[in-house]
Symmetry: C2
Subunit: 497 residues, 2 copies
């Protein structure tokens, strides 16, 4: 058997364990009985260790050397070797003992955070966060970096992205968004969000969620929709991509917009090239590109005016009459309400990026030693005041709100804002290529749109770096301008600014 | 770390992969989207190979030697070593290449069987079955045996059981059952099964199945109930034991009696001693003992007259009035109808064992070279005539009906009849220890009954061999008498013989 084939077989078996892990997690979050949770953690531990073991073995090292010096191997093999080498380096540069201790630390840290958030007690969580940050600082030294040390963390989520690039982009966003939000706050015309909070039976929301997923092109023969507490989508492989949602009978947005968002993630995974299956290239290019797909669907389809012109009557029917006294204009304005708020995951599209930038700036300052963990609550509140003009009453709705820091996911947040930026860039190009975009959305004829996205994004999986995806699709590097003009246009019109 | 601890850690990791495999199978049979099936087989293959690899390693061999010569190890460790040694021997005595070929053969064989069954074409399936039987004969030589070669196959499902013992027991069953069935056939009083086939909405059957599971003591915090095509129960671990069922809106027995049957399996798994978790002793003692638990619940609880005196009115309510014109006596008689039939899995409790004995006799004759694969259809039909007085019109409802032979599970069938025999032995002792058994069943007060079964069967897991379980619980070896007197009594009364 050729070295290339041996390598591909080897990475396929790693991929099989990753698929297994995805199923173990999906099941834990949707189906697992309560008493089974503790033992499930042990099983997940064993499978994770096996992935770590296979990714750091001498056998893999030799196979990597073999395929890297063989110039006849396929492009998929070449790219797979690059992706696996990165994981190999990451896992082998960090001493196994320290990594294992960190895994246990982060699981204790998450528990401590849950309690701290519940009792609004940052002090009790502080020692955990200090240890997590200290570990992360050590790994930055192990792994190495160019420029700012935070670049090392960014690279895990958004390969190729740097502080140097982000600072420029985020300053541009702040310059436009901070005053625009103040204009919206002070506008005379304001929506009445209460028109949205009418009773909508769960069973009917479920049916409509199903129908919306079909509208955007989600394939139910290669997926399913289940209920959970914190919705997510998981791509076990391109033929088994599962969406989850939750239902709130007095706020349909949670399920309906949530399902469209997760459906966007799922479309990406379902359309990754079939020839990549079983290789490390059969994955998203980055977290930011993944988020661009969910946000494209949620914002540019699921909050599109034409989409609701067609679907508001449908929603009214499913809701069984409880929206009959709400006009389309009131409904659509309320659905697009923008205002400063404390909680990132509940934020609207106008304010969302500032929540992300706030976190980015604090993370960057932590890892360049400009601030210490203990200063986070104060710094958080100062930035809330500066960007939104509001200050949270408690740390629970401030610095303690997200799970990312307790879990050690520093470097993740920027991907959310990059997802918005990429989505707007892709949409601008898409409208150029498919000029009747708005008409198609209104008619529920999304096929050509999804096909464009598949050709330009989905099918490449991780064969391209994020910046290649965006450049090849739009002819430009990452660029905040399309997002900013979309937001300016939309909110100027909506609020009669 | 002590050798004992190393050994326990090692077997725990094997156990984690087994749990993973159980989840992969459960998901494949209940939730997996259609297009995901092919890739799932590959993932299952990788995890199965890992279990095989861990069970045949030199590391395990050394650990086994270590704990076997250390007399200070715990009873659980001692027993675990015996159970693992058995698997180690089995896997290492059969050349890995031959085993791998066989795995592929049996999967092709199952596909060929499906087609053959559909088109009633034994000839097309014969070559596969011949290869399967040839492989099994070879493994018998590799593994060795005492007495009859079939004993080697039996030992896989019912450790310690032999042809010599089974022949005696099964002759005893035939002697009583064949004439008893003929008496029932010729009785004047006959039930009208049509009274059962009234419409019963699926959603209501689901609720009642749920309620019945709770009645028999199934813990929904350590389990769940889902829909599938071929119902089963699976114990991922004692805290995660899942029941599946299917619903037929014109035959409620499929779901309700099926759920109680699978619930009996599940109760066993949920009550295996907590201290055994993660060891190979955290499993059933044998297939026969497992079946004794499902049959005990299905037959001695779920078809008990007192149970239905209480639950028939409940069923009537759930069915929404469609049983209102059916009297209790007609209902109960129909529910316990006995008559010769072709299909084992649809057979009633009176005729069931003869279906099993027929298969046992054919398997035994195959492996002692008294008959050849090509003679199976003829021999099958001869025995049907002899035992039931009926002959199937097609091989599809004869020799081709079961998946066991296509999958190579020779030696499995006797466990089904042993399950009946054990169940009746256990019931006889239980009634002796809890004399108000019938009253408790009627009152839905099953706690003490389940507790007795847990103390005598469930909690021991695989710490005891099946014959020890039965002997320790009843003071007797396997004995068909309690089953025979139960059947004689019940059917004499029901049919006024």
């Amino acid at each position: 058997m050729s070295v290339e084939q041996q390598f591909l077989d080897y990475v396929k078996s790693i991929n099989h364990y990753i698929q297994t892990l995805q199923l173990l997690y999906w099941d834990a979050r949707t189906k697992l009985p309560k008493k089974g949770q503790e033992e499930r953690s042990n099983v997940i531990g064993t499978v994770s260790q096996q992935i770590h073991h296979l990714t750091t073995s001498d056998e893999l090292k030799h196979l990597l050397e073999g395929v890297q010096k063989d110039e006849t191997v396929s492009d998929v093999t070449k790219r797979s070797a690059i992706l696996v080498q990165k994981k190999y380096d990451e896992f082998t540069k960090i001493p196994a003992e320290e990594y294992k201790e960190y895994i246990m630390l982060s699981s204790r840290s998450e528990l401590a955070w849950e309690q701290a958030k519940e009792s609004n007690d940052f002090e009790s969580f502080k020692p955990y966060l200090e240890k997590i940050v200290a570990y992360k600082k050590k790994t930055i030294e192990y792994l190495g970096y160019e420029g700012h040390p935070y670049n090392c963390l960014l690279d895990d989520f958004e390969p190729g992205m740097t502080v140097e690039k982000l600072d420029v982009i985020f300053e541009q966003l702040k310059e436009v968004l901070i005053p625009l939000i103040q204009d919206v706050v002070q506008a005379d015309r304001q929506p009445d969000a209460n028109v949205l909070f009418h009773h909508f039976p769960k069973a009917e929301q479920e049916k409509l969620s199903h129908a919306f997923l079909e509208t955007i092109g989600y394939d139910f023969e290669a997926g399913r929709l289940d209920e959970t507490v914190h919705p997510f989508a998981t791509g076990i492989n391109r033929n088994d991509v599962r969406v989850t949602t939750k239902y709130n009978e007095t706020d349909f947005r949670v399920a309906l917009l949530g399902t469209i968002h997760e459906g966007g993630h799922a479309l990406y995974e379902q359309n990754i090239g079939e020839h990549l299956i079983g290789t490390p290239a059969s994955a998203a290019s980055s977290f930011g590109i993944h988020e661009s797909q969910s946000l494209f669907m949620e914002k540019f389809v699921g909050q599109n005016e034409g989409f609701w012109k067609t679907n508001y009557p449908v929603l009214k029917k499913y809701a069984g009459g409880s929206f009959d006294d709400v006009s389309f204009d009131d409904f659509y304005f309320a659905l697009n309400e923008a205002k400063p708020s404390f909680i990132r995951i509940e934020a609207d599209e106008l304010t969302y990026c500032l929540h992300v930038i706030l976190r980015y700036e604090l993370e960057k300052a932590l890892f360049s030693n400009e601030i210490q963990v203990e200063e986070l609550p104060t710094k958080w509140n100062e930035k809330m005041e500066e960007y939104f003009g509001i200050v949270p009453n408690t740390d629970s709705e401030g610095v303690l709100q997200d799970v990312h820091w307790p879990s050690g996911m520093f470097g993740y947040f920027p991907s959310y804002a990059l997802g918005y930026i990429y989505a707007a860039q892709l949409k601008q190009q898409l409208v150029h290529d498919i000029p009747d975009f708005e008409e198609r959305i209104q008619n529920g004829d999304i096929k050509a749109i999804t096909a464009w996205m598949t050709m330009n994004v989905h099918e490449h999986g991780a064969m391209k770096e994020p910046r290649e995806i965006i450049y090849d699709a739009t002819g430009e590097d990452v660029n905040a301008e399309p997002l900013l003009s979309y937001l300016k246009d939309k909110y100027t019109k909506l609020y009669h600014l």
